[in-house]
């Protein structure tokens, strides 16, 4: 065990897997010499060289398109998209190609890769350095989507993702890149994809969230507890395919649920979770499921802490739901 922040834990996972599996290559803008704009790939260029840690031209479509070719060849590419807001020039390659390769070839051309990219608000990045586009990938059949909230999970999930036979979008909550610290197991350590984590037990309301909002959720849960409301907090970890059993089991217990995410509410993952709960635990619901999300506006600069579903917006939702 070593105390690490998220950046260090991800760096550790990358280094470990690159040593273990020489098919792993990293490519992206500024990932090489400078080690990434968030320094997540720091040191890897020096250690593994320019064949395996590759600074590319400024084109996300080129990065993902060539990474697909590498995966078809048999490498294990781990492309980085500098901010998930800049993934859209590569959206066609991801949704039309990467997601469909195994299916359209009847299994002849699987295309495993991990697309790493910082996600979410909290660094005063405005419209284009703050968004959370997970729903735009979950809706597309064929992609797995992961978002860790702790350094240990970041390492464990990333190692699982890099060994997974399917393409994985790995969203890294940049707000907590350095703020989230914790003990991280040394060496080989995996956290299985598809398993949520019940971070806090509670009887009255289930709160489902992931990524940086976990800490806001926990803060809100503490405040709710002070008002006598016990909140069970679930950290989804894998956003798709999500751990429906853990969610449903909790809601069957509490009868009440609040989903919290940074992305805009409309057609976000929150809506999917609410619908699944309706389908699987309808008769257990004692209050309308609530969503506390980013507003349905572009992500703002100055008012970002008003836009984000921070604790001050979560607490009222918890209390209302508990007291419905």
């Amino acid at each position: 065990m070593t105390q690490m922040n998220m950046v260090q834990a991800i760096n550790d996972a990358l280094r470990f897997e690159m040593k273990r599996d020489d098919r792993v290559v990293i490519l992206g803008e500024d990932v090489g010499k400078v080690g990434g704009v968030f320094r997540v790939t720091a040191g890897l260029y020096d250690e593994f060289g320019d064949d395996r840690v590759i600074d590319t031209p400024l084109s996300e479509g080129g990065i993902i398109g060539t990474a697909i070719g590498m995966a078809l060849y048999g490498l294990r590419p781990v492309p980085e998209i500098q901010f998930s807001d800049f993934i859209f020039p590569a959206y066609d390659q991801i949704v039309s190609e990467l997601a469909k390769y195994r299916y359209r070839s009847g299994g002849e051309f699987p295309c495993p890769m991990v697309i790493r990219t910082p996600v979410g608000g909290g660094i005063r990045g405005g419209h284009y350095h703050s968004q959370s586009p997970e729903a735009q990938f979950i809706h597309v059949a064929g992609l797995k989507v992961v978002c860790p909230a702790t350094p240990a999970d970041a390492k464990g999930l990333l190692l699982s993702a890099m060994r997974d036979p399917d393409p994985v979008l790995f969203f890294e909550p940049k707000r907590i890149y350095r703020a989230a610290k914790g003990e991280v197991p040394d060496g080989d350590y995996t956290v299985p994809l598809g398993k949520a984590n019940v971070v806090r037990g509670g009887e009255h309301v289930t709160l489902v969230t992931w990524g940086a909002m976990l800490y806001e959720a926990l803060d809100a849960a503490n405040k709710a507890a002070a008002e006598g409301v016990q909140v069970e907090v679930i950290d989804l970890r894998t956003l798709w395919p999500l751990d429906i059993d853990t969610i449903v089991a909790s809601v069957k217990k509490t009868g009440r649920v609040v989903v919290v995410h940074e992305a805009p509410r409309s057609c976000g993952l929150g809506g999917e979770i609410v619908s699944l709960i309706n389908e699987k635990a309808f008769l257990h619901l004692e209050a309308p499921p609530k969503r506390v999300c980013g507003f349905d506006t572009p992500f703002p600069y100055t008012l970002e802490n008003e836009y984000l579903p921070l604790s001050h917006r979560i607490v009222p939702a918890l209390l209302e739901t508990a007291r419905f």
Partner: protein, 381 residues
């Protein structure tokens, strides 16, 4: 401000007329009447016959597929009528270890590399025997065993992928070359730009085969770009480029072979523009009479790639009507068998809908599969 109409801002139409295919910088070995323009053909007579056979087979299959579509027996076909020299000549230049990334008109190239004809027809029929389980449209096949990639509809995506593939091989010191096909329309796509740019920077072992067939559905080449040629675009990426007569199979073969050798020597990618002409509609869904000036067809007809090679073989090895007939009968026989077999195969089973989305079936697909299999259709099945 000038007062010309926008109509006049696009440039001349020369780039897609036969004149252009005969321009001096365009590599040519066989003249339109089949006489050798070079000292040496660059291929043995046996090879030339093999190429001719492959081209003829391709054309016969193509014509049959159109017929099957017209009869309502298959849903769609997109072929290579008139472009056989470009497709077959280039594929022939590959070594066994090399890879081929197709656009959608290169079934002939895939068959040349060993894709079974039955497999091709199982795709056309989308039946239960299709290894891709009838999931893709006709003419969207793949065949890993012969190092042939997967056809996809979105224009150009295979270009960037072929670059990544070749780049990976280079990183692994694996001496293969990846040839990728695309139409001249695809040069306008994001993918052409990204693929060529990365290939130039990382000196990947690629051959970019641009089939300039004059049209992107109804859009003529002069609406695609204002550059002097499609080959000229190589300059933007530091990628050497060459134009060849795409209806001269010997020229296509020679130019592609040189590009393959160059790539194999580690000297990087080459862009090949093959000047040819789409003699059919875009696909069986298209009616070219709405937009194609009829006067374009007959000069191109005179440049027909089959005709040219046949004349050459007649003079060279005594190719005869008898041999031609035997070849046609042989292909007809093949076709009879594969079509019968394809038509005997049923539709893919319902449950195949859910396989291969992921390596293993996650819970939500298990549930959806169970729903479908317990529904009214499954019972009728």
């Amino acid at each position: 401000m000038t007062t010309d109409t926008l109509e006049s801002v696009t440039h001349g139409t020369s780039r897609r007329l036969p004149d252009d295919a005969l321009a001096p910088d365009v590599v040519r070995i066989l003249s339109p009447d089949g006489t050798l323009l070079a000292d040496e053909p660059g291929v043995s007579d046996e090879e030339a016959v093999a190429l001719y056979r492959a081209m003829a087979r391709t054309r016969i299959i193509d014509e049959r597929a159109v017929l099957l579509q017209r009869q309502g027996r298959i849903g769609f076909h997109i072929g290579s009528l008139g472009e056989e020299a470009t497709v077959l000549g280039s594929a022939y230049a590959l070594r066994g270890t090399d890879w081929l990334f197709p656009c959608y008109r290169e079934f002939g190239a895939a068959l040349l590399r060993g894709m079974p004809l039955q497999r091709y027809f199982d795709n056309l029929y989308g039946n239960a025997s299709d290894p891709a389980k009838g999931r893709q449209m006709p003419d969207h096949w793949c065949y890993r065993d012969a190092r042939v990639g997967s056809v996809s509809s979105p224009i150009g995506t295979q270009i960037t992928q072929a670059v990544g593939f070749a780049w990976a091989a280079r990183i692994r010191r694996d001496p293969l070359v990846a040839l990728v096909y695309f139409g001249e329309g695809a040069t306008s796509s994001n993918e052409f730009h990204n693929g060529l740019n990365f290939a130039g920077v990382f000196k990947t072992p690629n051959v970019f085969l641009c089939r300039n067939n004059g049209w992107a559905i109804s859009v003529p080449t002069e609406r695609q770009t204002a550059s002097e040629s499609f080959a000229a675009k190589g300059v933007a990426y530091g990628v050497p480029a060459v134009r060849c007569d795409g209806n001269d199979v010997l020229a296509v073969l020679q130019v592609t072979r040189q590009a393959v050798e160059r790539a194999a020597r580690g000297e990087g990618p080459t862009l090949v523009e093959a000047l040819t002409y789409r003699m059919s509609g875009h696909s069986t869904s298209d009616d070219p009479t709405r937009y194609r000036p009829e006067e374009q067809l007959s000069p191109w007809g005179k440049l027909d790639p089959m005709h040219r090679l046949r004349r050459y073989l007649e003079a060279r090895v005594g190719w005869s009507d008898g041999k031609q007939q035997a070849l046609e009968e042989q292909v007809a026989g093949e076709l009879k068998t594969v079509i019968e077999t394809a038509e005997k195969s049923s539709a893919p089973a319902l449950e195949t809908l859910f396989d291969d989305v992921f390596a293993t079936l996650p819970w939500h697909l298990q549930e959806q599969r169970a729903e479908l299999l317990s529904g009214p259709r499954a019972k009728g099945h």
